[in-house]
Symmetry: C2
Subunit: 701 residues, 2 copies
């Protein structure tokens, strides 16, 4: 059969409710005729209003993200303080009169109880709030839509969940979830409405399209990073690394603006809360404190890369196990409780067995446990376990040399490594940054001490510096975000001079780690078979052409089409693409003059009001008479879609997709006839494996 003579166009596809989990963002819906006509009408003044609104939204995103971070910080601090005081009093009581097993029981029960609540709300109310949310945000910014990921309900569950996880004493941090929280805040504010609350404030309607929403979500993610680590520039780079396709200067400025405001809000509020309003010393949820000189050893970086890879490999098997066996919410809650109880038990046993006593004088321990130490001394192992992980990290960085016994550190590293590995992937809302930093800091400090021992003091440096490098290396080995992570660490240490060694450490950790296994986030994304587009096409894919990659045959529509045909095409779930080229009617075919349907016109407003949840075609009843009517698709199509000749190489197609943020690309032959369609899935399928180019199997989009 002859191919329809083209004029390829796309209509905004109806988002079919597929049985599968992932949908792709339709970047192109903002390029249909209705939107274009509005843009054509827009004048300079109206444009300026839109631009000002964008800045206002970014400021609001920054402020709200900062406030949410403050809320989490303050609540965690108070609740965790309460818990540790209760347990400490109990331990102190039972240390003298014996029966410390009651203390263990109390501690484990408290932990398990708190974690149970945190796990129940995640597992039963909003499962997408599990974990740090970073893989989900990476996917969203990449252009893959995950249902519910930017809903208000998710934010509430996320915030409560992370508070409960941290208070429950799990080996988790509250930093990762801030990125997700910032993204949700951004999505909510920019759309001026909330689906969860069923409220529409009728503002910011101009931004109800995928491209705009996505830009704001990147600003939100950046604001989240900024609030978490006091790293506004790191936040911008994180967003760019994960989300940017086409670098837009104004967008980047706005992202930076949101980040700055976020860290500034957090800083101001926390300074006021802590009673020294003009001090401004808490730019982030975790503050590393000041460092002054530097040190780095190559051996070190190698080690951390391997440890990071080991962490990821263990977590990979664990995740596979979980996907296979622990998929019922009840089981997930029970596992979370188990981990919480085990964490408490391990901590208790380690503290109990430790004989490492340190003088309490001059140390800055928050909850010093005396246990079996002499009066005026405290149990050093307890400072590491009996504390929120953030505090432990900072202690490892800044405690004076000699505060920790190598044995203590070694045992702690080992135990915490397995606990953190087991914890990541539980159905609780929690981040992996802080546990990674803590493991790294512990073994970095251990390394520093050992080096000094082994060389009999001839190579000696402040073990806190080693702890910092170890923390950077371990985190890099686990998450592998080189550039943004370097900048985040640089900003968190507040010292540019550290940038160079941190960069070297992170690069080495990445290279070594990549040799064994992927980064933690990428691994989790790939386990879900998401059609995730990387930065560049695989290097050896130059010999593949669009013809080989494209989906074919393509279902095309005509400009004036029978309603029944449109309905049938949209209802056909077996179709391999959701955007349909509109082709020019063949001039030889006589148009049967059925006349256009007299339906009320769809307006731009209708699209905006329905966005992003367009009604599925199944919910629209079309009568047999209506099916015979003709519909003019001109209004709903993109009048000048991007096309590519069928000889174009895969890297070229890939670049076009990435640079322009496409979702569909029409492949044409020399006569401009539609021969195929390249979708995100077609491109995401190819990746470079050990043996050369591999084809993955992906979830349907």
């Amino acid at each position: 059969t002859e191919l329809p003579r083209p004029y390829p166009n796309e209509i905004p596809h109806n988002e079919k409710l597929l049985s599968l989990k992932y949908e792709s963002l339709d970047y192109d819906n903002s390029e249909n005729q209705l939107f274009l006509e509005e843009e054509r009408r827009i004048n300079h003044a109206a444009f300026r209003t839109v631009e000002i609104k964008r800045w206002v939204i970014c400021a609001m995103i920054g402020i709200l993200t900062g406030l949410v971070a403050c809320f989490i910080d303050i609540v965690v601090e108070n609740l965790a303080g309460l818990k540790y005081r209760v347990v400490k009093d109990n331990i102190d009581k039972f240390t003298e009169k014996g029966g410390l097993s009651f203390s263990l029981l109390l501690w484990a029960t408290l932990n398990a109880g708190v974690v149970m609540v945190g796990s129940v709300i995640v597992a039963f109310i909003e499962p997408v709030a599990a974990g740090s949310g970073i893989p989900q945000i990476k996917c969203y910014l990449n252009g893959v839509k995950i249902p519910h990921v930017v809903r208000l309900k998710t934010l509430v569950i996320k915030v409560c969940g992370v508070i409960l996880s941290v208070v429950g004493g799990l080996a988790v941090g509250k930093e990762g979830p801030m990125i997700h929280s910032g993204a949700v805040i951004a999505a909510g504010i920019s759309q001026g409405r909330s689906t969860s609350l069923k409220r529409d404030f009728k503002i910011f309607e101009y931004f109800r399209r995928d491209t705009e929403k996505r830009d704001f979500v990147s600003a939100g993610a950046a604001a989240g990073v900024s609030a978490a680590f006091g790293a506004p520039v790191g936040g911008v780079l994180f967003s760019l690394e994960e989300g940017a396709s086409f670098w837009n200067q104004f967008l980047t400025w706005r992202i930076f603006f949101a980040s700055m405001i976020s860290t500034f809000t957090l800083n101001s509020v926390l300074s006021v809360y802590h009673g020294n309003a003009w001090d401004l010393s808490s730019p982030g949820l975790i503050n590393f404190g000041r460092f002054d000189s530097e040190v780095c050893h190559r051996f070190f970086c190698w080690g951390s890369g391997i440890l990071g890879a080991l962490f990821n490999a263990l977590n990979y098997w664990l995740t596979m196990f979980r996907i296979r066996y622990i998929h019922r919410p009840c089981l997930q809650v029970i596992e979370a409780m188990l981990v919480a109880a085990v964490t408490a038990a391990v901590g208790f046993v380690m503290i109990y067995c430790s004989r490492d006593c340190q003088p309490i004088q001059g140390s800055s321990v928050a909850y010093p446990l005396q246990l079996f130490c002499a009066d005026g001394e405290y149990n050093s192992m307890a400072t590491a376990f009996f504390n929120t992980p953030e505090k432990s990290v900072v202690n490892l960085f800044h405690d004076p040399p000699g505060s920790y016994n190598p044995m203590t550190l070694g045992m702690f590293t080992l135990m915490y490594f397995f606990l953190a590995c087991w914890t990541y992937g539980l159905t609780v809302s929690a981040g992996v940054f802080i546990p990674s930093l803590l493991i790294g800091a512990a073994w970095g400090r251990l390394f520093g001490i050992s080096l000094s021992y082994l060389t009999k003091g001839s190579i000696w440096a402040d073990p806190g510096k080693y702890a910092l490098m170890g923390a950077a290396a371990q985190l890099g080995g686990i998450v592998r975000m080189t550039l943004s992570l370097t900048v985040i660490m640089m900003e968190a240490t507040g010292n540019v001079t550290y940038g160079f060694p941190i960069m070297l450490v992170l690069m080495t950790a990445k290279i070594v780690g990549d040799y064994f296994v992927e980064g933690l986030y990428d691994m989790h994304i790939q386990l879900q078979s998401v059609p995730f587009l990387h930065w560049e096409a695989p290097v050896t894919s130059h010999s593949l052409t669009a013809r080989e990659v494209m989906s074919t045959p393509v279902t095309c529509l005509r400009r004036i089409e029978r309603v029944g045909t449109v309905v049938d095409i949209l209802s056909d779930t077996s179709s391999n693409h959701n955007g349909f080229p509109v082709v020019e009617s063949n001039p030889n075919t006589t148009q049967v003059g059925l006349g256009l349907s007299a339906y009320p016109m769809l307006l731009l407003k209708d699209f905006r009001d329905a966005y992003p949840r367009f009604p599925p075609i199944q919910s629209i009843h079309v009568s047999q008479d209506e099916r015979e009517c003709m519909i003019d698709l001109s209004e709903f199509m993109n009048p000048s879609p991007y096309t590519v000749p069928q000889e174009a190489s895969l890297p070229r197609v890939f670049k076009l997709f990435r640079a322009l943020g496409l979702r569909h690309l029409v492949v044409v032959n020399n006569h401009n006839e539609v021969v195929g369609m390249v979708t995100r899935k077609d491109l995401a399928r190819y990746r470079l494996g050990k043996e050369g180019l591999e084809e993955l199997s992906l979830a349907q989009t």
Copy 2:
């Protein structure tokens, strides 16, 4: 006449030597068939080698840029020290016995002499080395090629020139030229040869194409920023702001790597030179020193925006005057000498008239001039004038409150403002960053002192903080690079907390300044009528379509073409584009079987060896017989060029151009027939003026 039936393709255009100054980079030459075939053959291992080479080159760029910065710093420090000691001794001698006019004469002569040498080498040997080089690098990264801009000779003249300008006491800085220097170093290393030295090291031949070279040049520019201000992240953002079209993660990592190495090299070498090897306290050519708290006043930002705009407006008229009247090199040298002498004279008179004496005890003045002060005191005006501008800036930031008299500061600001304005645009190699910072720091400090006076001390803060904000604001008002400048200033102050006020100050300065006149660099670029592409199409251009923007008619070639036709087309200087679509021969036309010419095949190597100076067509002799031969253009064309339908809107075309770094875009009709060609010039023509869309007249490309 019927349009040729298409299959639009481009051949690498022959770079015609136009009479005009600017050429555009041909991004696309790396996409012709020869290059594509090489890429298709490349395997994984070969790709890895190329990738490693890229990193090695970036490391070399970083090291060399750092070393050049060290060289400039050390030479300037020694020569300027020598000069100031000579003049100081002379002044000290004549203060007692009268006849200070001799000192003035000595000072003015020394300055004028040194500047004369600096100006002569620029004016007569390499005029493109004049100024800071930032507008030139902005153009280069934007895709406009300026002859000689990345030659080794330019680097040598630039480095010598900047040393002589600074030593000659002009109101200039050595920071801006570092960016240009880094870019030249990058271009040289990445090509593995130097045209100026006529040496080809036969390495890195893979990188002899525009896209690759341009990527390395952005790394070089970033390394330059990094060395100048100790701001590696700021450097990366500068490069991205100015150059990036498509954000590439690996490229950004490499740019960051080069930046980091550059500042680290500078830091290490300078630390060793200053005798405290492990101190690492000089990450940049200018180091602001540590700041601890913060302050900002809105009034302040407004003022600086207006002052910045005034600076630019004055400089605009001055530049127009210079373009019209001072175009002969001799005149340029004389003007430079005049400015040098006047700078010395103004400084001398100001010092002479000043009665502002400060106790020498506890101050850190390098060359304290006693003049008419009591013993143990020094002339405070002299610290500002009798010093390199970098030192003066840091003094204004950090000198304790009360070091400067408001009158001194006021006079200094006023005088320096005009001097700096007169100086920028002279035919010497020099930067505008430091003078801007100095003006801002002076009036910022003045503002701080006045505020304290006026409110009788109730609003009081360290005037050094005001000086910092004033410096940021003034610089922002003059150059208007918001994001990268904020990060540069943040890194230079070494305190994240300052980020927020600096950002507010810079944004206000930009908004206010933009209301009056463009940024200094943009102004200079526009005065040269360069076809510079901004980030986005003008907002009100949605109603323009490709059809209205494109150049037409288009000269097309056939796949098998008569040599004579090709030669004629290439020689035709009246053609409005330099890339020619290759169209499919109309199947109805019978191919006259003249046979293909038996010329030796052109190989990829030939392109690389000639790059970037391909021989002009006029230099190639083609005999009458040869003209009748046929040539197959398949090898030299891009087999799948980007095209756009004629209905596409200008913003859409613009986005495609920017995101993909195009130089030519073929416009086709619905039948895929070539109807026009959009070039960079066609797009750069449109800009948003006060009255709506305007068309500019541009230099021919």
